[in-house]
Amino acid sequence: MQTFISLNGLQRKLGGVSILNGITAVVTPGQVIALLGKNGAGKTTLLETMLGFGFPSAGEAKLWNINATNIDSDIKQRLGFVPQQDELLAGLNGRDHLELFKSFRKNWNQALADRLIAEWLIPMDVSVGKMSIGQRQKLSILLAMAHEPALLILDEPVASLDPIARRQFLQQLIEIAADENRAVIFSTHIVSDVERVANQVWMLRDGSLAYQGGLDELKESFVRVTLSFSQPVSLKINWPNLIRQKNSGHQTQLTFDHWKEEMVQQLEQEFDAQVQVEYLGLEDIFLELNQ
């Protein structure tokens, strides 16, 4: 299968501070990857390094098997990028932007552009300086999508959008996801959006990927188990894949990674307690992994 992005032991230091610590991952067509992480976890640096904005301190980042810092025009045409802070040009209006971007792109879907302008209510005749932050963000997303890139990378694209615009944007991502020849990576803090459109999750913690894999697999592998005892409990449990333990009265709450169904019986046998299993939502998993 064709690989859009391959990261191999990727490290990046900025100003002597280690931001990315040996990230290894691949992106293949059909994937919609949600990049999650706390503020300062290194999401923007990771996205920018995989697009060749900066050289890795160690390891490599490749786009279509070419070092990201050496990509040519042909590969650049296959990319769409929406930075965290829009990079629209002062003194031009939306229509000027559209014409300018169109002149650079080999492929351009005018019907898609027109549809998004109408649906997203972008005021194309207004100078970008007079647009609201949300309108500028919509225009930025439109400009990154209209040439139908094989790989679309978005850095916190919905941060400035209202709920309606956010829903419309996610709908657009779902349409892209339906095309198995394309891939999307987007960073976000809004976990409910991830559950709606992503099929893969990369969870970044302290510059390393704490989890990378399918969204469903992630949700199936994280559980919160409640052990109920007949008397107050103060024991310290030491089990493999146990992330957290919290004792409270007659109960102890355990959070497990890589959970397997047969572990219920094993827990019942070892502790002589009533076992209750609760599967976690993505937001709870994010909190558990980052606390």
């Binding site: 923007t44 900066g54 050289f55 810092t69 003194g91 031009l92 000027d96 300018l100 100078s127």
Partner: protein, 492 residues
């Protein structure tokens, strides 16, 4: 063993004891002061509170460690050189003192007004009790300190014409300059730079003011501070006025979009894809012309006060200085803009990084040459109108040396950019320092104007040869350095 003291002896002993007590008191006070500074808030006495307030104020007004270090270093050098000059009457020490002090005053005059406005409009500092009053007192003290230092240095120079009236004149000029700078910073962020031109003609302004009645001078000074204090204390900012010197790339981008994007001078159509992205704005010929017009309208404003006050000979000297500063400022402005926008063209350029050198150079000269030629043409024509003392050869030399400086600025800027992983702060600081050095060398060689010292008419080769050597050293390094360049990140 006891001894009976006579009257005169008794007096001497009393004086001695009084001196000892005085020394002890000073010793105690100094000890307490340094203890307060070193131990901080834990053992706060009166001095501790002042020292702590002073330290906080210093950090607030210069919110960058590098800047604080530079300010302190310049202050130490200026004081040391002044002390040597006062004791040994060393000409070299005097030159160092003057140059260092001018640099320090320039740095403070550039940063303090904008930072004062930013602090006064910040919702964080607004709740710090009497922060505004403290800033007002600081500005008053700063104006007095600067004026005293300036008069003292002036007095040390060959002019030797210090008088209390002169101090009043310098203090009034400095006060008006600082007050206007704060107001300009509030109205048009960064526009107070234009006021610096008034300081170039300080000598003439003070000469005029010395003709005034001292009582009138003192009254105007008092009134100016009363009016400023009234405005400053009652000023209610509508929103936070950010200091453009100390903000990140993201905030710069936002300001650029809203300020430049809404102005007639910057609105137009794009001529080329990469050119527009590198400029961060439309690069059509029409809008280029309008942008140039904005610079050409504002630059002559700098001439007006000088033209009104100075005599012909002095004004001619100033024209050259203003032209040089304008040409260098345009070059630095273009470079800062290019460095800010370079990351924008990475994903949209046809070639790889190595091609950026020629692209940047081409766009740089495209922006810089028209301005420089225009400035030079104006100066050449003014010279001709004034029955020029300088020939065409001299102007050709001027033009070549300005282009050489601009070329050097281009290479130094990108060399620092490559070496510091795109730290725009260092790029701007190093290039600004380089232009200042060039300016002082130009004064020292008598190329632009002369300092009030005997040191002049040094060969212009002292400027040109180091420039050429540095240019040869940097050219290939900068060209090849683009293959490994990191772009200023959006996360910064």
């Amino acid at each position: 063993m006891s001894k009976v003291l006579h009257g005169s002896e008794h007096l001497c002993v009393n004086r001695f004891i009084w001196r000892l007590k005085k020394i002890n008191l000073v010793h105690e006070v100094l000890l307490k002061f340094f203890k307060d500074i070193l131990l901080g808030a834990e053992s706060m006495s009166g001095f501790g509170v002042y020292a702590s307030k002073g330290r906080v104020l210093f950090r607030l007004l210069f919110p960058s460690t590098i800047l604080r270090c530079i300010v302190l270093a310049l202050l130490v050098i200026a004081c040391a050189a002044s002390a040597i000059t006062a004791n040994a009457r060393s000409e070299l020490a005097a030159i160092i003192a003057v140059i260092t002090f001018i640099n320090l005053a320039l740095l403070c005059a550039l940063t303090i007004p904008m930072q004062m406005v930013a602090l006064a409009s910040s919702r964080t500092t607004i709740f710090l009790g009497n922060a505004r009053n403290l800033l007002l007192v600081f500005l008053l003290m700063f104006s007095l300190g600067t004026s005293l230092m300036m008069c003292w240095l002036w007095d040390l120079s060959t002019l030797n014409r210090y008088s209390p009236l002169m101090l009043l004149g310098v203090w009034l000029t400095t006060s008006l300059f600082l007050q206007a700078s704060v107001w300009f910073s509030y109205r048009w962020s960064g526009a107070h730079l234009f006021l610096l031109v008034f300081y170039l003609i300080l000598d003439d302004v003070v000469s005029l003011l010395e003709l005034w009645n001292p009582l009138l001078l003192a009254s105007v000074l008092l009134l100016s501070w009363m009016a400023f204090a009234y405005w400053w204390i009652n000023w209610m900012p509508e929103k936070y006025k950010v200091n453009i010197f100390f903000i990140g790339l993201a905030a710069h981008q936002k300001i650029s979009l809203t300020q430049r994007g809404n102005s007639w001078f910057h609105t137009g159509t794009a001529h080329s894809w990469l050119g527009s992205r590198l400029l961060g704005a439309a690069d059509g010929w029409g809008v280029r012309g309008r942008r140039m017009l904005s610079v050409l309208i504002f630059t002559p404003l700098g001439f007006i006060p000088a033209f009104l006050i100075m005599d012909d000979a002095q004004f001619k000297g100033l024209v050259h200085t203003i032209l040089l500063i304008s040409s260098a400022t345009v070059a630095l402005g273009v470079l800062a803009n290019q460095a800010f926008n370079l990351r924008r063209i990475w994903l949209y350029s046809a070639g790889d990084r190595s091609e950026f050198y020629s692209l940047l150079q081409k766009k740089f000269w495209l922006d810089v040459v028209p301005f420089t030629l225009f400035f030079s043409a104006v100066a050449f024509n003014l010279d001709w109108l004034w029955e020029a003392q300088r020939g065409a050869e001299s102007w050709l030399y001027f033009l070549v040396s300005v282009f050489l400086l601009q070329s050097l600025a281009f290479h130094v800027y990108w060399w620092v950019y490559q070496r510091t992983s795109a730290s725009l702060f260092w790029c701007n600081l190093v290039c600004f320092g380089m232009v200042l050095c060039w300016l002082f060398m130009s004064f020292a060689t008598g190329f632009l104007a002369t300092l009030p010292f005997g040191w002049q008419n040094v060969s212009p080769l002292w400027i040109v040869v180091p420039e050429l050597i540095l240019l040869v050293f940097l050219q290939e390094r900068v060209r090849s350095g683009f293959c490994r360049v990191n772009f200023a990140g959006g996360s910064r």
